[in-house]
């Protein structure tokens, strides 16, 4: 049975060096959990962002938490490039594994299905493939002169995301964000922050059950209201545009980024 407790308790299983899977901006980014990990001084994380990232990856890179990053894009969207990501790539301070969105989904699905690889079309002739020695091209055994890419299964140590609600059995309502289910299925452990607890059993109502990740995939749940802030939690709250614009402005310099960290991450230490 999953533990429903404090944020710090929930994050205990996320240790230095682990392979951590997180979702894209519109699927429930666990920003308060991210700030808590930065405050804890986590190091050498291998971040797997499904399939893209924004503030979360940039913040963790700037705070020195990441050894490597596997994703398909990092950007602040309408607020411009991700400054710490861009700087780190140019300085060579993190190991970047550039990917393309469906490859990351497929690699997790391989793990979800307990198979060693998943085939994927596309990719052949792209430099994305050229730079991925772990991706293999074979001749389709069921075809003829038909090259196809095989992606090895990815099994994250921990999947971490933010969702609208969970019940006391650890069942988590994820709605249409079904890649969160695949992420949990594929990962050795799953940690979830939620806006609030649901009274009763999410699986007891067929309508709610349809959007629910069962508790037996979930190791820990913490209630963290506005836990995606300043990113959006779709159908619940929008992005905090003013805050993101401030981040984009500050993070362009090291001093500004340090100021942002101090003000919006470390100053919450007591929380």
């Amino acid at each position: 049975m999953p533990v429903v407790g404090s944020l710090d308790e929930a994050l205990v299983g996320i240790q230095d060096g682990c392979l951590l899977a997180v979702p894209r901006e519109v699927s429930g980014v666990p920003m308060e959990a991210t700030r808590a990990l930065i405050r804890r001084g986590i190091r050498n994380l291998r971040l797997f962002a499904l399939p893209t990232s924004s503030l979360q990856a940039d913040l963790m890179i700037g705070a020195g938490c990441l050894a490597s990053l596997e994703t398909s894009a990092v950007s602040l969207g309408e607020f411009g490039p991700a400054p710490r990501f861009t700087a780190a790539i140019k300085a060579g301070t993190i190991h970047m594994k550039d990917a393309t969105c469906p490859a990351l989904h497929a690699a997790l699905q391989a793990s979800e299905k307990g198979v060693p690889f998943m085939p994927l079309r596309g990719l052949i002739g792209s430099d994305v493939l050229r730079e991925r020695p772990d991706w293999t091209v074979i001749d389709n055994p069921l075809g003829e002169n038909d090259p196809i890419v095989l992606l090895p299964a990815i099994r994250p140590d921990v999947a971490l995301f933010h969702a609208p609600t969970a019940d006391r059995n650890g069942n988590v309502w994820i709605g249409r964000q079904r890649e969160l289910a695949t992420m949990a299925h594929a990962s050795a452990a799953t940690v979830v922050t939620v806006e609030k607890l649901h009274d009763g059993d999410l699986l007891a109502d067929p309508v709610l059950a349809a959007g629910t990740l069962p508790g037996f995939y979930v190791d820990a749940v913490a209630v963290v209201p506005r836990g995606a802030w300043p990113l959006p939690l779709p159908d619940h709250y929008d992005a905090d545009a003013a805050h993101l614009a401030e981040y984009a402005r500050l993070a362009t310099t090291l001093e500004g980024f340090a100021e942002y960290l101090e003000r919006h991450v470390y100053a919450q230490r007591a929380a």
Binding site: D98, C101, P102, G122, G125, D127, V128, R176, R178
Partner: protein, 261 residues
Amino acid sequence: MRSGRPDVSTEPTRPEELLASVIADLIGDVRHVAVGNASPIPATAALLTRERNKLQGVPRPYVSLLQSRKHNFFTDGARELFDCAGQGRIDVFFLSGGEIDGQGNINLVSIGDYHHPTARFPGSFGSAYLYYVVPRVILFRTEHSRRTLVEKVSFVSAPGISEANVHRSGGPVALVTNRCLFGFDAARGRFRLQSVHPGHTVEEIVAETGFAFECPDEVPTTPAPSAETLRVMRELVAPELAEIYPQFTASVFGIGAQAPH
């Protein structure tokens, strides 16, 4: 939602409106158009196509704006767009590039040596897959310069053409810029200048383009959107768009801040 603006259909055509109109004509009669993030002009074009069809009683295309909640019909998570495209159900998609070269290769990753780049872009997103499997990919880049339209990209996020034995049911059909419209000839692997936008010239296009392209003797001027197209865009499309592109709709159509979220 129109918040007391003047009669919009008599205002002059904005450059964004011209481009949206050009793209809408490229979309054609299809079933499903998907538009990725940060693409307000393609989104305008896709909704314009749908609204014009609707006025003629044609109930298509589906338009999926991936950044929207309201205009996003996917319920199987972030992978569904790609699965759907792999099934051949996405007819039109839009891609751009930090660099685009004369063979239709796009670069969304970096400039210079990949391991020691001089510039870094966000990343390839889904391009290294969708470019292969969506039948009509419309390339779109508003900055038409030798910096963006290059002879050879530094990094191929996705190639414009593939070897004959590589599974490929899709690829580029056109490149729309702020200066002109190029068609793409997949058999020859090169662009062909198709029309020049009003106020621009062929000489300027040649001077500002870093790649060689086919240039007919006579290049028409890109036709301006009809009054009806402008009306549909301004009255029907703009309010729909304000949900996800408030800044864009405010600056181009004069609405957005008042739009419901």
